[in-house]
Point group: C2
Chain length 436, copies 2
């Protein structure tokens, strides 16, 4: 369509991430083609068990068990099978065949990253794994590219949503460790065997990848000092809170100088105290965040959803588009610079909520009058607070919070209030953003 060349994409795996990647590629085929400048054609989805119950929305004819055949001739291979083998072998075959590879396989990259990167470099193919660390949050690309002219000195990450959820429940809800783990299991934050998460193995794999990228050094996963959260008690959490700290499981990668003057790197995972004023302290529930310190850039933080099928699919597709663009113009331009040319809508069309502060006559019926003014324009109040006016006797101060409505309607409300004889003054109008 539109004269776009076809790029053949092979997908290995159709689990929680793979099925989302397939769905998004199929649903957004035209738009992705416009952004890339070539059509990403999903040639097939390799799975272990062809008969397993799977997403009925995906065309069944795409499924195959012959992964080796699928990757032959592919321009881009997306590996979402997980595990070390046969993922590693299939990635090597794909690279040998000249395909770019996109993966989310943190265990594989942590254990065999250098070997795979070497294989990619030998053939001039691209190996990308943004999705292997911190789900949807861009961290690999910023570390590799945005900070390529800088020196990273330290990276501290909350990279395991399961343990962050548990520690957060203990901190903000006062749960015991057992109760927090039970709730986490019920909500799907923990697998049947929670060891990988609670003993810090998952975080250690991510620490390996982050440290290797940040410091241009091969950091083997065995070299990561690892402590999980099983020793964290409610008493420690409470003592931390009293002292103005919070306990977080941190993956830390750092440049440092040994006592004997040797310059080196350290990678470790352990539960640690951080100040409640630190940006990492405001990372709640299953969220992840990576706090980077670099010589020129100073402190940066990348925050978002660390896991989830569709969230991780976002990171996978970002890498797929990057890989695909390399085939298009001999080097990437900015995808989608062909403008979508959407119309610019005036501010009257936005949906927002208002907080209106007014001085009104302090007498019966005023609230009803004001509520009527709102209702006549399709706006309803979500909160009203009344207090004694600081400005004039016989007056009251009202702070009205509205529900979300069209700005044009909200502006009309303000005009009506200004013109109302029960309103002495509209002191302040502020919009409320962020779905608070």
């Amino acid at each position: 369509m539109n004269g776009y060349r076809d790029l053949c994409v092979a997908l290995l795996g159709s689990g929680s991430v793979g099925s989302q990647v397939a769905r998004l590629m199929l649903e957004n085929g035209d738009e992705l083609a416009a952004r890339v400048g070539a059509r990403l054609t999903l040639a097939g989805i390799a799975v272990r068990d062809i008969d397993a119950k799977r997403d009925a929305e995906l065309p069944q004819e795409l499924f195959t068990t012959d992964a080796e055949r699928l990757v032959q001739g592919a321009d881009i291979v997306i590996e979402l099978m997980g595990g070390i083998e046969p993922a590693r072998e299939l990635i090597l075959q794909s690279l040998k065949g000249g395909a770019d590879v996109v993966t989310a396989n943190k265990a594989l990259i942590a254990a065999h990253g250098p070997e795979l990167a070497e294989a990619a470099e030998q053939v001039g193919a691209q190996l990308s794994y943004e999705a292997a660390v911190a789900g949807a949050i861009p961290i690999i690309r910023p570390l590799v590219w945005s900070l390529a002219g800088d020196h990273v000195t330290r990276v501290m990450g909350i990279v395991n949503g399961s343990t962050n959820y548990i520690l957060d429940r203990m901190d903000r809800f006062g749960d015991s460790a057992e109760d927090a783990m039970r709730v986490a299991s019920e909500l799907g934050f923990l697998e049947a065997d929670p060891t990988l998460d609670v003993e810090g193995y998952d975080a250690a794999q991510k620490a390996t990848i982050i440290a290797s990228i940040a410091f241009h050094t091969n950091v083997p996963v065995e070299s990561v000092h690892r402590e999980g959260i099983t020793t964290v008690t409610a008493e420690q959490i409470e003592a931390a809170k009293q002292a103005g700290y919070v306990i977080k499981l941190l993956a830390i990668a750092e440049r440092l100088t040994a006592a004997d003057g040797t310059e080196g790197v350290s990678a470790r995972v352990y539960p640690a105290l951080i100040s409640r004023e630190h940006p990492l302290a405001a990372v709640y529930g299953g969220k992840n965040a990576i706090f980077v310190e670099a010589e020129s850039a100073g402190e940066l933080m990348f925050y978002g959803a660390g896991a989830g099928g569709v969230e991780t699919a976002s990171a996978v597709l970002g890498d797929v588009v990057s890989a695909a663009r390399r085939h298009v113009v001999g080097g990437p331009g900015i995808p989608g610079s062909k403008h979508a040319e959407l119309p610019i809508l005036p501010v009257g069309e936005i949906t927002t909520a208002y907080q209106i502060m007014l001085e009104v006559r302090d007498r019966p019926g005023v609230l009803a009058t004001i509520a009527g003014l709102l209702a006549d324009r399709g706006v309803s109040a979500s909160s009203v607070e009344q207090s004694i006016s600081q400005q004039a006797d016989g007056h009251a101060r009202l702070v009205i919070g509205t529900h979300r409505a069209r700005e044009a309607d909200l502006a009309a409300v303000v005009d009506a209030l200004r013109g109302s004889e029960v309103v002495q003054q509209v002191t302040s109008v502020l919009r409320l953003e962020g779905d608070a």
Copy 2:
């Protein structure tokens, strides 16, 4: 050196950002060459006034007033002059000559971005402007590349450090608007003419750039609805705080549907309330943050220093390395995959602080004994809190915070405490991270 080809880099401007870019390129020449795979040779620095007092650390022979000649034959041109002309004309000349261009010029990109992007695309050159928005924080690259497979629905940014500093002083320190502005001026957050910042013009330019990138649509700067902070009063700030909100100057870019069903985009700047629990609320002082909502990725936030000479230089150099890599292998590999091969240092070498919770005999001399145990191993206490033991009569609970020390020394302290006859139990040992 090492057989690297030379890439000729022309720098236009030697102000607060340009002088840092030049310094970093010269100081880190070898390392940048290893990362890029080619040597970035600074061919010259074009300035308006050759006699102006400038950074004496930079080789004076690099300076020239002939910018037009300097850009001829350059592989990469870095435009850090600011202003519309002659920056725009020089960028067009550079692109015509086949050079990649890196700029921090938000006013220029906001006003002429599409024209310049078109010119770059026509010759297959790269135009990058990460440094034009939010200083050191990677936001352009994540929006363009990491989210290239996603749909961005809304972006809300704190993108002007000056106004955030003022509003933050009013909120956390109770300053009046006048006092906050005075402090901001004294600290260099405001120019002599603060209009660009306080009236929201700077934020509006950034909103334009963000909206254009996020929605693949040309959003002219005139279409940005703009309100500054001059109407924000101490009374509003206090009322916001009482209600659990904070007032931030937000630049908002959003996909939305008009009342008549038209799909379009909106871009605006205004002071708005957000919940104090929102991630954007924890952005203090001169810091910036951009909160992105995308269909698959969900909520992401990018946080850091929004301005500053060396901070912005980090973003410039990231773009320079990206541009340079395109010349090296016919497409970018991961820079620096040739491992730096730094040694991995064991956890005993890290420097950290401990919080140690212990049960001790409640009798005179115990604190002195414990302090001696620390001092003998080169560790000093930064805080000691004593309370009645919950565990045993005649005992006290101590919570000791140490100053930062080598982990090996801290571990030795814990061992000594465990072996001490005044210590009944070491209940908890936690590391304290983040320079709290």
